[in-house]
């Protein structure tokens, strides 16, 4: 069934990585100096990989489109990073983290990769602390933990609501140290616009200097794509404005298979859409579900009154509220995994219980947490019979110390005070589990091309657990790629420098230039943004939280028509050899317009519901997802063909579960 070789080492799962590492061929220090490696993207995966490879002695060139590597979108991750340290003595272990991740991913990820991730998770925390990352600590000076969705232990390390920032600045500092030593040459404000293959191997990239507009050729013995996810195909997402699929898509067009592209994560707690000109959505960290309770009015007429502004949520009596997650999933309550929480919110809103003007919002309420913490604090302070106001005051102070920056962020955006009235939230696109297919060594189907972090598909299956993206990015960059890339490079010690004068570079550069010139000379009148917005709407409506056959077929037809219109009607101002953000955007949207079709194709071919992929045809009577392991326990890896994203060929990598029994995921 499978034409793909994942190169999973033999042996028991807990020994695979150790044994594999022991057998990896080494490259001597003298030879490392002769070898060039390109790293595209400087988020957690890219920065950590570039720094670690440079420390080993390779010549590294790192690229990012932002003005500094410190600005990559990993910086915006809020809640935390998982690690199987078992500091809380609550029964955590490598195996439990492995098991939770496989189960959370709804049994659509590869066992061997996930186990390795769990194994190295503890090293990440040690590494970051040694770098001076200021994680939250308790009064004894020890590291503090909290819980995230889909698990029953506390294994999440955090730095208030800015964990991603602190981890990225840690990796950035390691990278900066290597830049200072001249071991890494940093190319900021550069965008990869094509991959260059020589004799079938990845040997370089074409990059555009975004300031001068010049195209540049860069050669290397291996190329690492650490370019993040493609959530911006939905136009509105929690991704940064610049996050894009271009590097990954160009690689796909040159032979890298895209795996499970339809697996996207819709995060349940985001600030709802406010209007047509909205450019992005803002996440409210999952950590808030530790203390916030999610509800909608039980009666539709109450919801209508709230929408009309005639009723305030705080006026609604306890018995008139429907804490629907606690009702449906008593075992996990408000901490069910993201896909489950998102669908449940959509279900309530579709049934007419939504609470903002558009009816697309639910409440996230901290009143009971404020009261609980307030009583606790009063007790600690020896206050007998404190007044409700005093309890509130004490409770708000504690909630502020835990989530202060998130509450402040919410208030700035919505002009509502979440200490006094419940937050309004709604699901939004947040992360893409799908991505470039990689084997156990993180190598793609193109020899010498690797994909790390969110850009690859391997660890999260059909749904990622909270606080696991940071873990995966740093695991790949610090502890996996430095070994496995070396395996590949061991054969390259005699190759010598790759010339950028080779015809392959010439051709790739010419093709890139022609693509750009075509945009600039197009006689259209419509700005790029308009097409992106339209694509986003098609994707959200037909390939979002719920999908069905008819909708997906319609979406494919609509995207093809939109793509045709895009090339006819788009207007890109400015010139080629200058700073031109509209031109950059046109290239990115062109790739999203192809990716969107592939995502729909993938969603159409996967006739089951699993994780974030919910096909309406496959649900139980209670509306829970129905997975079909007999037919769909595989990775769908798509090969680009015939210059048409809709004609991609499907390859299947069978998923073999030897250590975890496939069961129906239940959080009841």
């Amino acid at each position: 069934m499978s034409t793909l070789n994942a190169h999973i080492p033999e042996g028991p799962i807990a020994e695979k990585w150790t044994k594999h590492k022991a057998k990896i061929p080494l490259v001597s220090p003298a030879n490392k100096r002769q070898i060039d490696v390109i790293v595209v993207g400087t988020g957690l995966a890219g920065s950590s990989a570039a720094a670690s490879l440079a420390e080993l002695g390779y010549n590294v060139k790192a690229f990012c489109f932002q003005d500094s590597p410190r600005r990559a979108h990993s910086i915006a991750a809020q809640g935390g990073i998982n690690a199987a340290k078992n500091y809380q003595n609550d029964g955590d272990s490598t195996f439990r983290l492995f098991y939770d991740t496989i189960k959370g991913g709804d049994y659509r990820s590869r066992e061997a990769n996930v186990h390795r991730l769990a194994e190295v998770s503890a090293n990440i925390i040690d590494q970051c602390v040694a770098q001076g990352v200021p994680f939250a600590r308790d009064y004894g000076g020890q590291l503090d933990n909290r819980s995230f969705g889909g698990v029953q232990v506390s294994r999440t390390f955090y730095a208030k609501g800015q964990t991603g920032q602190q981890l990225l600045l840690g990796a950035y500092s390691a990278l900066s140290r290597q830049i200072a030593k001249g071991r890494v040459k940093m190319y900021a404000r550069h965008e990869m616009v094509d991959l260059v293959l020589v004799d079938g191997k990845a040997r370089g990239i074409i990059a555009r200097d975004l300031v001068s507009g010049e195209l540049e050729r860069h050669s290397a013995h291996a190329v690492l794509l650490c370019t993040g996810g493609y959530g911006n195909v939905f136009y509105l997402s929690t991704n940064a404005m610049g996050s894009n699929v271009t590097a990954a898509w160009k690689a796909h067009r040159k032979g890298a298979f895209m795996a499970n592209p339809c697996f996207t994560q819709i995060h349940p707690t985001c600030i709802p859409v406010s209007g047509h000109f909205q450019s992005k959505l803002t996440l409210m960290s999952e950590s808030l579900r530790n203390d916030g309770r999610i509800w909608v009015p039980k009666k539709k007429e109450d919801a209508e009154a709230i929408r009309a502004g005639k009723l305030q949520p705080v006026q609604l009596a306890e018995e008139d509220r429907d804490y629907y997650l606690e009702r449906r999933y008593p075992a996990f309550g408000n901490l069910v995994p993201r896909d489950v929480a998102s669908r449940a919110a959509k279900e309530r809103c579709d049934a007419g219980h939504g609470v903002n003007k558009t009816g697309e919002a639910v409440y996230l309420d901290f009143a009971s947490a404020i009261e609980r913490y307030g009583k606790e604090a009063a007790h600690v302070q020896g206050l007998h019979q404190p007044s409700p106001e005093k309890i509130r005051e004490l409770g708000e102070a504690i909630v502020e110390s835990k989530y202060g920056n998130l509450f402040q962020m919410y208030e700035k955006i919505t002009a509502q005070n979440p200490y006094k009235t419940p937050m309004m939230i709604y699901p939004a696109v947040h992360y893409t589990m799908g991505g470039i297919w990689v084997d156990y060594n993180l190598m793609t189907t193109v020899p010498g091309l690797f994909a790390l972090g969110e850009a690859n598909f391997s660890d999260h299956g059909a749904n990622r657990l909270g606080a696991s993206a940071l873990m995966q990015g740093l695991a790949d960059g610090y502890f996996v790629a430095p070994y496995t890339v070396g395996t590949y490079l061991a054969d390259d010690i005699r190759t010598g420098k790759i010339s950028t004068e080779l015809p392959e570079f010439e051709e790739a550069e010419k093709a890139a230039r022609e693509r750009m010139e075509k945009f600039l000379t197009n006689p259209g009148t419509t700005p790029v943004e308009v097409f992106h917005r339209e694509l986003g709407k098609i994707m959200w409506d037909q390939c979002g939280m719920a999908r069905n056959e008819a909708g997906l077929k319609q979406a494919i037809a609509d995207i093809r028509a939109l793509r045709e219109r895009f090339y006819k009607e788009v207007k890109v101002p400015g010139k080629m050899h200058e700073m031109n953000p509209e031109l950059d955007k046109a290239g990115r949207v062109a790739d999203f317009l192809e990716l969107g079709e592939l995502m729909c194709l993938d969603a159409l071919s996967r006739e089951e519901s699993c994780g974030g992929h919910f096909r309406e045809e496959f649900q139980s009577e209670e509306g829970e997802a129905v997975r079909r392991d007999d037919e769909f326990a595989y990775v769908a890896a798509w090969e680009f063909s015939d210059q048409d994203p809709g004609k991609a060929k499907l390859h299947k990598e069978a998923l073999v579960f030897e250590n975890v029994k496939l069961i129906t995921r239940s959080y009841k």
């Binding site: 670690s52 003005d67 040690d126 994680f135 000076g141 800015q162 950035y172 500092s173 929690t238």
Partner: protein, 249 residues
């Protein structure tokens, strides 16, 4: 809402630059300031005028890219916000708004409202790190307890987003707040002790080389900092610098 915008236009580092006036209407009070600029740009493209170039990315106040000087203030009116977190409800219908880039000798203008802040990267490269290689064999993360107040203070300093509002605000275009935040983070942690003296000397040296001005303790940087980085960090860096200068080998 409707606004009159005076926007700084500059074609490149060599261009002299000038203010241009544009009208925008159909602005809603829920829009962020950058979404209002998006509206302006869509309008300019329609009129055949080059859109205004500006830095932005995460649009949630954490990446540090956005950098507009609005009505004479870095990141505009309001405290504790970046430009992307500023909302049009902070303005009144019909207002005239003046938008300039962050200005400093060490932040040359690239185009329009976009400036080059790579000097900040070079300050970090001069010593803003702990010299530890990637290794699977480091001591356990809990091996060295860190007092909570120190860990919290290190975190507060480490929340700097490197936007440069402190420099743009300072009449001397000093980068003391930025540099001291990183020096403080490591000065407060045991991991940072080994290289403490070299770190502060090298980072301050690089800061001076980049052409940032001196600190005269006006405190404006702290007021305009979107992350509320305290000038206590500057005091701490001065202390670190003095002791390093006296004891350096």
């Amino acid at each position: 809402m409707k606004f009159t915008l005076n926007v700084w236009r500059q074609n490149g580092p060599q261009d002299k630059g000038r203010m241009e006036t544009y009208q925008v209407d159909q602005v809603s009070d829920d829009m962020s300031f950058l979404e209002m600029i998006d509206v302006l740009n869509e309008q300019l493209i329609g009129q055949g005028i080059d859109p205004v170039v500006f830095d932005h990315d995460c649009r949630e106040g954490i990446c540090g890219m956005c950098s507009m000087f609005i009505n004479g203030e870095a990141h505009g009116p309001g405290r504790g916000v970046t430009t992307c977190q500023l909302h049009m409800r902070e303005f009144s219908d019909g207002d005239t708004i003046t938008i300039e880039p962050f200005r400093a000798k060490a932040f040359p203008v690239i185009k329009d409202l976009m400036v080059d802040r790579s000097a900040f990267d070079r300050i970090i490269q001069a010593g803003g790190y702990v010299s530890v290689n990637t290794s699977g064999n480091l001591p356990d993360a809990n091996a060295t307890p860190i007092e909570k107040p120190d860990a919290d203070a290190a975190f507060d300093a480490a929340t700097c987003i490197g936007c440069g509002a402190c420099v743009a605000t300072c009449k001397n275009a000093s980068a003391m707040l930025f540099t001291s935040a990183k020096v403080s983070q490591f000065a407060l942690l045991p991991q940072g002790q080994v290289e403490a003296a070299d770190r502060v000397l090298n980072m301050v040296k690089q800061m001076d080389l980049e052409g940032f001005g001196n600190c005269t303790n006006t405190g404006a940087c702290e007021v305009e900092c979107p992350k509320g980085i305290s000038i206590e960090n500057i005091a701490r860096m001065n202390r670190e610098y003095l002791s390093a200068s006296l004891t350096s080998k």
